[in-house]
């Protein structure tokens, strides 16, 4: 009788114990208690992403993320760890699909979304959908045609890509940036060092479409233009083009203007005169100078290449900390001062973003760049290298619109040039923050890539041998020696 009762109680206890195990783990599974201990927070979400997820949740939306990556692909493991962080939010729902094991289910989703690609991550929210390829998740090393080794991963852009994907499908309309052409601008499609293809790729990764516009022939700037980019124009803007620009800005347009110091253009005084005159009317002067900074000159580069600190509390630079940007062939931009503020247009707001140091100056005499010295005619430092300003306009019906303009005094930081171009991490962050801000995506401003711990050891043969002897011979022998000593003392104690 006792034995029977004991057995019943035991079985009951076993059931309860198993139930507790399941309940504890079910509860744990609903939480994401995972903490990133990597030195560069490789797998953590940035505050910007958290803001995006909050915004999506606030809108009452849910973004479905279909992961259709090959499980043997390296991107699968990195993406999976990262998506665990996203999956905590109610704003997203991550669904893993396997093309090999569930071809029918995967095909059904791909057919529904009308996608014919493989190895992709798909974002879907309501009627909106986007996808990114697995290769787009990484930043790859450069490879010369003679190099037989494959390109290497030098950065993981997972967070940037996924957050942008979530943003793009949760937005009401797709975003487009228009690049102005016809003035010998730096091309966004040029993959050479003077081109800006890397900048363009980053914009595309942010799910902002890129189109070009030849303003000379265009009747107007298209309505779907969220951002107009004028990237180092080297020939004059005709009055018709200035009129188009004016109409665009008056309807609340966003402009990113990058202008180098006019050292390559002859005669530099007249280049872009109309564009400069247009902004002069706003109270903003684009100087015909080259900014020189003797104390912040970048070692190994010419006098015109300098590092400059971000300035001000504008949201574009607020989160960038104290990291310097690299400017090359930069010109200075003067904003309205306290004295001239009364004379400039009403409803105008401005802020400097990047400034050179106190010791810098804007060299006005560009004909004698071989012997540069600061004199009274030059623009006195600190010089504004990048500025932001906005102006309130009202149409005939009294509807208010705000035009926003960013002028950056150098286009080299958007170029493909090594070390001083777009690849420099601060330049990247600054430009992408600017693009995201101007397209109304402040939240996603410049989520930089994560650098993997890329250790290819370069040990000599003798170093390898030392390690091998140490771990395969000395360490096990030491343990054997300890064992022998213990055995000897134990034996002698026993026989004493």
């Amino acid at each position: 009788m006792i034995s029977k009762r004991y057995n019943i109680l035991l079985w009951l206890a076993i059931v309860l114990a198993l139930l507790s195990l399941v309940l504890i783990n079910c509860n744990a599974a609903y939480h994401n208690w995972r903490f990133d201990f990597t030195s560069d927070s490789y797998f953590s979400l940035s505050p910007k992403t958290k803001d995006v997820l909050k915004a999506v949740k606030h809108k009452g939306l849910k973004v479905k993320i279909y992961v259709l990556l090959d499980r043997l692909n390296a991107a699968y493991a990195d993406t999976k760890i990262l998506l665990q962080r996203y999956n905590v939010s109610d704003a997203v729902d991550v669904i893993y699909m396997d093309q090999d094991r569930d071809p029918a289910g995967t095909k059904a989703i791909l057919d529904r979304l009308k996608i014919k690609e493989n190895n992709i991550i798909v974002f879907e929210c309501g009627q909106h959908q986007r996808f990114v390829k697995s290769t787009g998740l990484y930043e790859w090393s450069k490879r010369s045609p003679l190099d037989k080794n494959p390109a290497k991963v030098i950065g993981f852009r997972g967070e940037e890509v996924i957050t942008s994907g979530i943003m793009s499908v949760s937005e009401d309309t797709p975003k487009f940036a228009y690049a102005v052409i016809g003035h010998d601008e730096r091309s966004l499609s040029n993959t050479g060092v003077d081109g800006c293809s890397k900048f363009a790729q980053a914009i595309l990764r942010a799910n902002i479409g890129i189109k070009t516009i030849a303003t000379l022939n265009a009747p107007k700037i298209p309505e779907d233009c969220n951002l107009l980019i004028i990237n180092r124009p080297r020939s004059i803007f005709k009055p018709h083009e200035i009129k188009l620009l004016d109409m665009y800005l008056k309807r609340g347009g966003r402009l990113l203007l990058l202008m180098d110091a006019p050292i390559e253009i002859r005669p530099y005084q007249s280049a872009n005169i109309n564009l400069k005159n247009y902004f002069k009317k706003w109270g903003v002067t684009i100087n015909n100078d080259l900014v020189i900074d003797s104390t912040q000159n970048l070692a190994g580069f010419g006098a015109g290449t300098l590092s400059a600190k971000v300035f001000g509390l504008h949201s574009v630079v607020k989160r960038m900390g104290n990291t310097p940007l690299i400017f090359s062939n930069a010109r200075s931009i003067d904003l309205p001062t306290d004295k001239t503020a009364g004379k400039v247009q009403k409803d105008m707001d401005w802020t400097p973003l990047v400034r050179s140091s106190q010791d810098s100056w804007g060299e006005q005499d560009l004909s004698k760049l071989t012997s540069i010295s600061k004199d009274a005619k030059d623009v006195q430092g600190p010089c504004n290298l990048a500025v932001s300003f906005s102006r309130l306009f009202k149409d005939a019906k009294g509807k208010a619109t705000i035009a926003r303009v960013f002028i950056i005094g150098s286009s080299v930081l958007a170029s493909n040039r090594n070390a001083i171009g777009f690849e420099h991490s601060s330049n990247y962050d600054f430009l992408m923050n600017t693009v995201n801000y101007l397209t109304g995506r402040e939240e996603v401003s410049g989520i930089g890539p994560r650098r993997p711990e890329n250790v290819r050891l370069n040990l000599s043969r003798s170093q390898l041998k030392v390690i091998f002897i140490l771990v395969m011979l000395i360490m096990p022998l030491l343990i054997a020696l300890i064992g022998l000593i213990v055995w000897y003392f134990h034996r002698s104690k026993r026989f004493r």
């Binding site: 035991l10 114990a17 208690w33 993997p452 711990e453 360490m475 064992g483």
Partner: protein
């Protein structure tokens, strides 16, 4: 207080018997040889120009499945003697007659076996120290990698102790434990074999390989720690029930 003293005394007794046994040194040497070989292979592989991105310690602590395989063999060898030996030699009767509770005995045997497993890993701490002479070392993933390996081993130890209570034959105890550990490992592989559904979600949650990989990447996976702790507690509780049942018999 008395129970704690008894527990301490029991742990010391168990550790002493491990350290005086040649088996411990044989396991230690085999363990170090295996680890040394894997470490050397990883270092050689990362020397190649087309080596994938990654770090030596990340690959060593969880980026390769061999670590998991030999833990699944080493732990049962440590735990097989915890109860089986005492049952076969009859010394378990002595313990139970000197008013030491079964709870203390099970706990002491579990703690000492876990400590032995942890001690086995201590010499491998020299690996990152050796490596730091040649390359940059990120301490975070190394710490989490060891946390993962040690806590997983403690869960395996609890399972091993449970099977050791059941039999007087050490080999049977070890083989049964190895089979169950491979069963747990295999169940987690469902993550890669099942297409989707609740069962796959469960497989993802219990996948010890992917958990170990997360730890080695620098992620402190508290969910996994909860899983390890809950499974360990279940098996220890079951071992205790079995030990108590034996006394009543």
């Amino acid at each position: 207080m008395r129970a704690l003293q008894q527990l301490n005394a029991m742990i010391l007794r168990e550790l002493r018997s491990y350290f005086l046994s040649p088996m411990f040194y044989i396991i230690s040497i085999a363990f170090l040889l295996m680890n040394g070989l894997i470490f050397s292979v990883i270092i050689s592989a990362l020397q190649q120009p087309d080596a994938p991105h990654g770090a030596v310690m990340k690959s060593f602590l969880g980026g390769n499945e061999f670590v998991l395989y030999y833990i699944m063999f080493v732990v049962p060898i440590i735990t097989m003697r915890t109860f089986s030996e005492e049952i076969s030699t009859g010394t378990i009767e002595l313990l139970t007659t000197v008013s030491i509770s079964e709870k203390t005995i099970v706990l002491a045997k579990y703690i000492s076996a876990s400590l032995i497993y942890i001690i086995l890993w201590i010499p491998t701490l020299l690996y990152p120290i050796i490596l730091s002479n040649y390359t940059h070392i990120d301490i975070g993933p190394i710490v989490t990698g060891y946390i993962g390996l040690l806590t997983l081993g403690c869960m395996f130890t609890a399972i091993g102790v449970f099977f050791s209570v059941w039999t007087r034959n050490q080999v049977i105890a070890a083989i049964t434990t190895i089979m169950v550990l491979f069963g747990i490992f295999g169940a987690g592989m469902g993550e890669y074999t099942m297409a989707s559904g609740t069962m796959r979600e469960v497989a993802i949650y219990i996948n010890i390989w992917s958990q170990l990989e997360n730890f080695s990447q620098g992620i402190l996976d508290v969910n996994a720690l909860i899983y390890y702790a809950s499974v360990a507690m279940l098996f220890l509780w079951a071992a205790l029930q079995r030990a108590e049942a034996k006394r009543w018999k």
